[in-house]
Amino acid sequence: MIELAVGIFNGIGIGSVLLIAALGLAIVFGLMGVINLAHGELMMLGAYATFVVQNVFRDLDAGDGVFGLYIIVALPVAFLVSAIAGLILERGVIRFLYGRPLETLLATWGVSLILRQLVRSVNWLLTIAILLFCALFFGGMWLLRRRPNWEGMKGWAIAILLPLSLAIAGVAGWAMTGNAALARPWFGPRNLDVRTPPWLRGGFELGAYRLPYSRMFIIVLTILCLVGIYWFFNRSDWGLRIRSVTQNRNMSACLGIPTGTVDALTFALGSGLAGIAGCAITLLGSVGPNVGQNYIVDTFMVVVVGGVGNIFGAIIAALTIGVSTYLLGSGALARVFEDINSLQFVAEFLRFFTSTSMARVMVFALIIAFLQVKPSGIFPQKGRTAEL
């Protein structure tokens, strides 16, 4: 029985990582109907931000234990980095695609490809080239925008400025390739290890089992995030505006709520939560360009099972999926049935699914079965559409 309890604890640990990751996704999906396939890459950015903060603290540390505090700084930094990336993504791409969910899906996938390759190959050279391009292109556009006949020449301006600044940035980057210090990648394609702070190593002994402190930290972090989200949505002005836009966008716009700003803010918030999730997963494993990909489908399943835009549903879904995946995958559930003689065939059946990948097969089958009963999740959105 204690094994089952430990299994449930570990499952809740997995579930809470899923939950932080899915929270941002659920909020964004609920408000804007936008499926963000780059969400995993925003998590990755958060993880890399944590890695950088950790390096800074390691250099600062003079043996007085300052290093252990890096995670406290890394959380807001990861939040900010991902939130800013999300803001750029929303203003730069997604804003133009509202109401076309499938196109948004593809566009965000493109962004996720670019981000993954970016962290692999980013170096000073690339940074300089990108900054140069931005300065030339956006600066040029800003200068030209003041001309009285701007609307008429906009197309031509883009057609001339874009290749011109691309060419200048490219040539400048190419001219500097010889400089080895500039050309060295910051992170490279390999996985990097983030060292867990000393006070999160080890675990709480419980008989033959051990509950790792890092998992407890993640669970506490998730609870804090949930409380923060709850406070933000229910007690703050912008939370009220976000909720009203979620419920009825047109009516909110009529009442003077700046829906564009609300969209940008929500997207930044959701992305920031992805950053926190990224910070949390550095405690569980190494950081690599593909780290976000491991979570993305699971987080989507959380959103689908929970019901769109419903945070309470997301909590239940994440915990259920996390716990059932862990119990099936670790074989804890199979061992429970082994003790009961009459239920040997159940144990045999469950043993077939005892591995992380086979557990996913089983959980997906359960999800499909569940969706046959409740097609729009645990807590469906109530509405008056004719098709539901």
Binding site: L106, V111, V297, M301, V304, I367, I368, L371
Partner: protein, 390 residues
């Protein structure tokens, strides 16, 4: 729907010559299959053969995404199922009593029952089409029955993809897990399937298959069935309220699309010489969608052109620098979605060709008609009504 642009007489004469288009498509395909080997070195030809096989899968995606509006992110499942079916058949081309080598690694002495049917070529050929179709139909039934649609459908197909990937990856004893099945060394009709002459035959077979699948899709998307697909894409609720049952259509078209992907997978596998669960990874399935998007949605020829273009660009750019290709691919997704929503074919059709015509002083084609009575569709309908009355 765009109004048909031919005057009624032309539309009629085209209908009477129904064999013209199949003949042209097959003729082009055969010419392509005969001429290309004369120009290209063996290595490039094999590459082209693979691209052509992928174009078949793209046709399937166009059918389900371009015409029916269902974005499937899980076509890798069907692709890999077709590939595995053929690879299993090739792996069984051994002397009596032997089983493929890899089984000894996992201590399996007897051939698993799943493998038994693949001894026979006819059953294999049928199952290349049928297994993906059944899996797709089943998945479609479970999803569409509840009117799960749009993004939900995409996510569920993606999750299904992950499940199949995990399953194939984890089953070492059954299908060699991560390592997959190789086909190069095994014989088909007495020739090693990796040999140049067999590869040439596979290339030509792929080219002819593209034409056949294209014709199948043309036939499906014309007429009532095709209009029903477009109706589901544009407004499913109205289609349902008009008394049709979109669910059946969606399941059927998803199954057909899966079967097409299965054919593509089988042809691709024998030309690559290897099938692994890697074909069921998420990026590959999403990549298929971008081929269609680049070529032009809801225009079957666009899917073929898009696949060949994107895959060629990928080959050249990756040979130059693998990093550049990934950036380029990401940018391609963004550009196609924001600037070229109709793809290259749509851009040519709607913008470049009318522009060129006006440059040369030709009248731009009429898209709308000054009077409804001048609309060829209406006139044709009138003619038919009078004909009926008379």
């Amino acid at each position: 729907m765009q109004p048909s642009k031919q005057p009624p007489s032309a539309a009629k004469s085209r209908r009477s010559k129904w064999w013209l288009e199949p003949a042209i498509a097959l003729g082009i395909a055969i010419a392509f299959a005969v001429i290309m080997p004369l120009f290209l070195p063996v290595f490039r030809l094999r590459l082209l053969g693979r691209f052509v096989a992928l174009a078949i899968a793209a046709l399937g995606i166009d059918l389900i995404w371009g015409y029916t509006g269902l974005l499937s992110l899980g076509h890798g499942i069907f692709f890999a199922l077709g590939g595995y079916a053929f690879a299993m058949h090739l792996n069984l081309q051994l002397p009596e009593g032997q089983i493929p080598n890899f089984f000894s690694l996992y201590g399996v002495d007897e051939l698993p029952w799943i493998w038994q049917p693949f001894y026979s070529l006819p059953i294999t050929l049928i199952s290349i089409v049928l297994i993906p179709a059944i899996v797709a139909g089943l998945l479609g039934y479970l999803v569409f029955r509840n009117r799960i649609k749009g993004v939900y459908f995409s996510i569920l197909t993606q999750a299904a993809l992950l499940v199949f990937f995990n399953f194939f990856n984890g089953q070492q004893e059954l299908i060699n897990g991560t390592n997959g099945l190789s086909t190069n060394r095994y014989e088909i009709f007495g020739v090693a399937s990796g040999a140049p002459e067999a590869q040439l035959a596979f290339f030509q077979l792929s080219t002819v298959m593209v034409a056949l699948v294209y014709l199948l899709c043309r036939w499906l998307t014309q007429g009532r069935f095709g209009r029903m697909l477009v109706a589901i894409r544009d407004d499913e609720v109205r289609a349902r309220f008009a008394g049709y049952d979109p669910t059946g259509f969606k399941i059927l078209v998803f199954a057909v699309s899966g079967a097409i992907a299965g054919i593509a997978g089988a042809l691709f596998t024998v030309q690559t010489g290897l099938i692994t669960p890697g074909f069921m990874e998420v990026p590959f399935s999403i990549e298929m969608v971008i081929w269609v998007a680049v070529g032009g949605r809801a225009s079957l020829i666009g899917a073929i052109i898009g696949t060949l273009l994107v895959r060629s660009a990928q080959t050249f750019l990756s040979e130059w620098s693998p990093e550049a290709w990934l950036f380029f691919q990401g940018a391609l997704f963004l550009i196609v979605v924001t600037v070229l929503p109709q793809g290259l074919y749509g851009w040519f059709r709607d913008w470049a060709i009318p522009k060129l015509r006006s440059r040369f002083g030709l009248q731009p084609r009429l898209v709308s008609y000054p009077d409804i009575d001048l609309n060829p569709d209406v006139q044709q309908e009138k003619d038919e009504l009078e004909h009926l009355d008379g």
